[in-house]
Symmetry: D2
Subunit: 279 residues, 4 copies
């Protein structure tokens, strides 16, 4: 680059932040090229999520399928750490935005990453099939790899509270309908069911049913989302429940509400009382 | 309460967390009484937001109006602190959930509270009218009170970047249409426009146009949301842009990306170099 | 400013971030003018906290008094929302930094702001005395104002768990000793004790003893810290306990640990089961 | 366990939270067995950090060495994402606690994990030596493994801004002095220097000097801290700078301060303007 074409300081500063998501000038806001005034009222919130994260507007049926997955994960009650945190935060004198932040923050690999891991599993199986493996063989190998990487629990299957997760069947049914209508291929629903079958076979026939993470991962895979966005979408979805609980707790009142009733002090198993040694 | 009806320890523990949002038993999840399997695929995401935060399902047109407001606030580019934080976080080796948390967290009174404050203003004006004040009088008094409480900038009006905020007109048009259709009363659109008129009058005719916060507050007021939820809904809305930017930045790469290019060190105006005094 | 002296883009970018805290060039780091290599090993951590937040190095005795206050607030057990959040977060697959963030975040007005409010009260009383009010009169008026602003609980006095807060006496004793040694004036210890006396008088002699927030606020006031830093210093202090608990929980293990044992589902008081209306 | 010894609901609730860090009863607080009133004013803040995270009080010289490492990492200026986030947050209408949270949150693997990774490397080398490897051989193998696991940059060595990190030499000198005095073994300082030598040899003699993360990891390793706490201790340390910058920014004022000056809009490289397709 010679001196005359070298970008000036102003340009270097602008280039420090580069995006293909949003373009603005005074009076103008465009997302992915579309003017905001054309989007408002004409696309669904789920279509907007898709446009922002992936760059193109989905069709209306694609948007509805995404919407179903977002609906499925909104809440799992005050025993989930994310929801409990939102409620406790609301009693500590912070704003709803802060309560939401502390709560969304814990949706990490264990609490919020199961969908991402399930999607990775499905995609890995699909890639084996693209290279010529039969479904059964690809599933066996994929499950082996998942167990080797993450331990004996295969993300997306089994639930410590629900013997059968009530969110799975309606999601799969919507995927099946969308596959019939040509909206999606149905390939990942097939893969996920085969994983469920493989897991049952390994347990001597005892079913370890697909849970909400496994089922939403089917939706996201069918719709072409990359795996890390499965976690991001779950964060959006759960944010709704987080907000609802933070708001309900705000209305219930309470100050510095802890996890258990005040009359129950925790269990202590440390050193017996002792004195600080003399200097 | 006599001894025999006094709740036992187990009951006291259960009662420590009390909610009217979600009921669960193995295999069953109900939100506000509705089984999850009936909600998935049949209600829009915006209807779900409404159900969770307010307790009842809105009509479809109400849901669409809420959806328009949620769509309007998703993003305002990398110069907004929330978006910049999401992008910087994404380069620091944290998950998308963490990037979202750090970013949503800053949607406080200044960055995320304008809609809440605008809604409070509209509601205060409406209450004056309920007590018999004329619109003009109620607006004058409401604006006086808002300025006394929050300073000369009236939240929801004027924008430091957009002379005219492109998100306002389409939102108000949707409210007007919904008012014509009997979905909402149109009362708060009238109030907000009167506030805009009052502000112009105080500036000798110079218009200080309603911005996205003022316009979404109209939507939320028309739909009956309490003021604090205006902030919560904005957090949900902006979370979409936050996620999109965190994800885009992840794909762009970068490690520990700071706010300005590395060749520009910040400006220092502290003490001149000096030695730590001898002990 | 004429064209020739108008700062260029590079300068404007540098000026966007301006600080008197830190100056850097390759191989050089100076905090408040002092080279880092002279500070390491020669100042205490508390002196460093003081230097960074206030601009000058404190004397060693001032540093020790600050250290005592920082030590007093590190932990109040897993029933405090901040600590519970740290522990729950640690089971969700996030890093220690994330667990600390979710927890520190809730140290808001209610959980973390009592010291700040107590300090404001002491300073308001001192200002009245500077204008000529007698101690007794200034205290009465200050307490009246605090109650009017924040409600019947005066921040820094009384504790829902400890009839007598065991952290108060040792802190006040250190302040008294420092006052005898001329390190501090002792004025704010006198004011705080007078507030305690006034509160007891209003309760017909029933003592509402100064708690840890009231006592650390005495230390911070004696050392000349502005009120908002009382909250900031408490955040630093409690971060130690937060880290310790997050780390202990990590070692204990657990996945998605919620606030109460899994066999206790929460109490539900919402609508009875119902069907989603037909479209 | 038979029915009569099975714990009741109250006990199960208490056992849900179990800790060896803190024991409390009304009027009593003990950390690791030591009563709080004996700790306040008698131990340094660094000793308290050690007691809380590890269970025993360190000697005074151990505490001072820890203090030096905590001092070294407090701040690296507004170009570091953590500091920039703290400053931007402070202009968004959130509390100092929230600003600290958003900032500490990003101290993840890339921004806050280098010390942890360096400590793991040193420990892995030490373990090889314990099994009989010579220093040179253990270092070669350890570096190979680190590069295989984390890529070509070995955490703790090299700095993109400082050719020589000014924090390294004073920290190593303190470790050497402590080794002479028998406070620590000096083993990890030797290992770290051997790593530095190995890296230079691989670069044909070009030195890639140990940075602050590599040097604080030496301190933490000498003092016996487990690797994950290196990150936790860095979070405590950097929290000081984060607080100082958030507070300075609060005093400077500003509302919704973004990363770059307002006259520089970011660079856009997305789709050209286009219309939303007709429904």
């Amino acid at each position: 680059m010679n001196a005359s074409t070298e970008p000036g300081a102003e340009q270097r500063t602008k280039d420090w932040w580069r995006t293909s998501i949003i373009e603005m000038s005074p009076g103008v806001i465009r997302y992915r090229g579309y003017p905001i005034e054309q989007l408002i009222g004409r696309v669904s919130f789920a279509q907007m999520v898709w446009l922002m994260t992936r760059g193109e507007l989905p069709s209306e049926p694609q948007g509805r399928l995404l919407e179903a997955a977002l609906t499925a994960g909104v809440d799992h009650g005050p025993q989930a750490p994310s929801i409990a945190i939102a409620r406790m935060a609301a009693t500590c004198g912070v704003g709803l935005n802060n309560a939401m932040a502390s709560a969304v923050n814990v949706l990490g690999d264990v609490h919020g990453g199961a969908g991402e891991q399930a999607l990775e599993l499905y995609q890995a199986i699909a890639q084996r099939m693209d290279k010529g493996d039969a479904l059964v063989q690809a599933v066996k190998q994929g499950v082996d790899d998942a167990i080797a990487a993450h331990g004996k629990f295969v993300s997306g299957f089994g639930h410590r509270f629900h013997a059968v997760d009530p969110r799975t069947a309606p999601l799969l049914q919507l995927v099946d309908e969308a596959a019939c209508a040509g909206v999606v291929s149905g390939r990942f629903a097939q893969i996920a069911r085969a994983v469920e079958g493989e897991l049952a076979a390994r347990k001597g026939g005892k079913r370890i049913p697909m849970n909400v993470d496994g089922a939403t991962a089917v939706v996201y895979a069918e719709l072409g989302f990359p795996a890390p966005l499965a976690r991001g979408l779950f964060c959006l979805s759960r944010s709704v429940g987080i907000l609802a609980h933070a708001w309900e707790q705000t209305q219930q009142g309470g100050r510095n509400k802890g996890p258990i009733p005040r009359e129950y002090i925790w269990s202590y198993d440390g050193p017996a009382p002792r004195d600080v040694p003399a200097d």
